[in-house]
């Protein structure tokens, strides 16, 4: 597959469960080799989108193409090249982790069998414990392991880090980085913004079944609102800043002016320089801010 052929293409993808909304008219492409974040709160339609990719559910209308294949007809070919971690899943509780993964490597014609031990060591997972005796976090590790072991071309991860402790999360991020380095594509649904910021190249934000944004993480941040606070030697009226084009909102608090700025800070800094400045505090817009703003507006931020 050439680098210019998208790995996932959603075309007017729509899914209703009876009369209740799943996703509506989704249009997006995921490019080869990128880590694509899929953001939204619970119930927004993240899992619905993912489940159409793997043919667990069928679109009501529109279609989704994954790795150039139609999930509804070319299912085994597609699944051979995909690693999947569901948002919620059960495991065969009576098996040990090793027996479970042996079953799955067998179902994958042996693919990944040689990587099980190594991945288990990295995730600090004891393979000899019966799954029913594993903690929630350790069960999640088994899920991660079966998705990564066969080095798939596409990783589809639905809220993959829930229940993992911070150290294991770091190891998971390293595994994502390695997947990216070998050219794999990652589709990662999440509502943990720092995680998305840490690993994703591009993100889509989904709200009530509809996409409201698809953009580079960097561009989103550049376009986003940030908070800036200037501490002056004496009181400075907020009105001097409020009239600037890039300032959305300004407020005087004693000797400080607190403002919300969109885009470059140039104008604001030049205006502030007319007064004696003691300190400047500026907070990078987090993806969380962007996300929340997009959600409030329900449109492009």
């Amino acid at each position: 597959m050439g680098a210019d052929v998208p790995v996932i293409v959603a075309e007017h993808l729509t899914k209703f469960y009876g009369s209740s909304r799943g996703v509506v008219d989704l249009e997006f492409e995921v490019h080869a080799g990128e880590v694509f974040g899929y953001l939204g709160p619970n119930g927004a339609g993240k899992s619905t989108t993912i489940r159409t990719m793997l043919d667990f559910i069928r679109p009501t209308s529109g279609k989704i193409t994954v790795l150039g294949l139609d999930p509804t007809t070319e299912t085994p070919e597609l699944h051979r090249r995909v690693g999947y971690v569901p948002g919620e899943f059960g495991l065969y509780e009576r098996l040990t982790g090793r027996e479970y993964l042996k079953t799955f490597t067998a179902l994958r014609a042996g693919a990944g069998a040689d990587r099980v031990e190594d991945l288990a060591r990295r995730l600090a997972l004891d393979l000899d414990v019966r799954i029913k005796d594993l903690s929630h976090g350790n069960k999640r590790k088994v899920g991660l392991l079966q998705a990564f072991m066969h080095e798939p071309d596409l990783l589809v991860l639905d809220e993959p880090t829930q229940g993992l402790d911070p150290l294991v999360q770091q190891e998971f991020y390293a595994m994502i980085d390695e997947a990216r380095e070998r050219g794999a594509t990652v589709f990662l649904s999440s509502h943990v913004m720092p995680e998305v910021e840490r690993v994703c190249d591009r993100v889509a934000i989904i709200r009530e079944g509809r996409l409201i944004t698809v953009d580079d993480v960097g561009d989103l941040k550049a376009k986003a609102l940030r908070t800036v606070e200037f501490h002056f030697e004496g009181p400075v009226p907020a009105s001097a800043f409020a009239s600037l084009a890039s300032v959305v909102d300004a407020e005087q608090r004693g000797d400080s002016v607190l403002m919300t700025v969109r885009g470059p800070l140039d104008e604001v800094v030049k205006e502030a320089a007319r007064h004696p400045v003691v300190n400047i505090e500026t907070r990078e817009p987090s993806l969380e801010d962007i996300f929340l703003e997009a959600y409030r507006n329900g449109a492009e931020p």
């Binding site: 469960y17 899992s47 489940r51 793997l54 667990f56 559910i57 069928r58 299912t75 085994p76 070919e77 699944h79 051979r80 995909v82 999947y84 569901p86 948002g87 919620e88 899943f89 059960g90 495991l91 065969y92 009576r94 079953t103 799955f104 067998a106 179902l107 994958r108 014609a109 899920g143 079966q146």
Partner: protein, 263 residues
């Protein structure tokens, strides 16, 4: 054996060991009681005479011969119930059980088609009931003779085959309902209700003239307890039971390969 089939078969391991041992144990127990039953054959048969005609219709009049004794327990009562319970449980678990336990998503995320999963589950169900049938057959032939409970291997094999086919038919119905709805308890409840209704219909159909025309709707009518162990196989009966299983499988396939799976 494919990885899928190996997996589906392994799912039955505990059921197989548990119910296999249970079968051997109950057959041993029943065989041990046989001599005392036989000694009081006259009393037993007098007792049978007093039973409602419907029950006699089910088990035959003779409770004291080895054949009659086996018809009354392995093929008509405890053994029959055991086989149906195992088959209905296994059938309901096959798809719906995995779906409810949320293990089905991961299983189906491997390079397998839904139809292949369904097929492996169905084959494993047939395998499970067949092995339990072989255990019951062997148990009767091995533990029976020391207690004078002696039946021919050929009629015993034919009767066991009918028992296995009946169990597979009900198991297939449970599998189909589970594959259709995704709900294990629904599959168990409906199939059990159907089995009980069929049992009653067959029992009453023999005596209540008005119900006689409906009797062929009961799978128990084709299982024909009174004729078991008395001769060979009635191919018509074999075909009805096997055909029911095949029809249930076709229905399960039609729906399960197309429907949305529960998350």
């Amino acid at each position: 054996m494919s990885a899928l089939l190996a997996k589906a078969w392994r799912d039955h391991r505990r059921t197989l060991i548990g119910f296999g041992l249970g079968l051997v144990f109950t057959q041993l127990l029943y065989a041990a009681f046989y001599p005392s039953i036989k000694e009081s054959a006259a009393d037993m048969n007098a007792f049978m005479e007093r039973l409602p005609e419907a029950l006699r219709e089910l088990y035959g009049n003779d409770f004291a011969s080895p054949e009659g004794y086996l018809r009354g327990q392995l093929f008509g009562e405890l053994g029959l119930i055991l086989f149906l319970v195992v088959a209905i449980g296994a059938g309901a678990r096959a798809i719906a059980g995995e779906e409810e336990a949320r293990t089905l998503d991961l299983l189906l995320s491997t390079p397998v088609r839904r139809a292949e999963v369904l097929r492996a589950k169905a084959i494993a169900l047939v395998g499970l009931m067949t092995v339990l049938g072989v255990i019951a057959f062997a148990a009767v032939l091995v533990v029976g003779p020391p207690f004078d409970l002696t039946v021919g291997a050929a009629p015993m094999a034919a009767a066991t085959l009918m028992l296995v086919l009946l169990a597979i038919a009900f198991g297939s119905i449970a599998l189909a309902i589970g594959a259709w709805t995704g709900h294990r308890s629904t599959a168990i409840a409906i199939t059990t209700a159907v089995a009980v209704l069929m049992y009653i219909l067959n029992a009453l159909g023999g005596t209540v003239d008005a119900l006689e025309p409906l009797r062929p709707l009961s799978l128990l009518r084709w299982y024909m307890v009174p004729l078991l162990l008395s001769g060979g196989l009635e191919w018509e009966n074999v075909l009805v039971l096997a055909g029911t299983s095949i029809a249930a499988y076709v229905v399960a396939h039609a729906r399960f390969t197309r429907r949305d799976l529960a998350s």
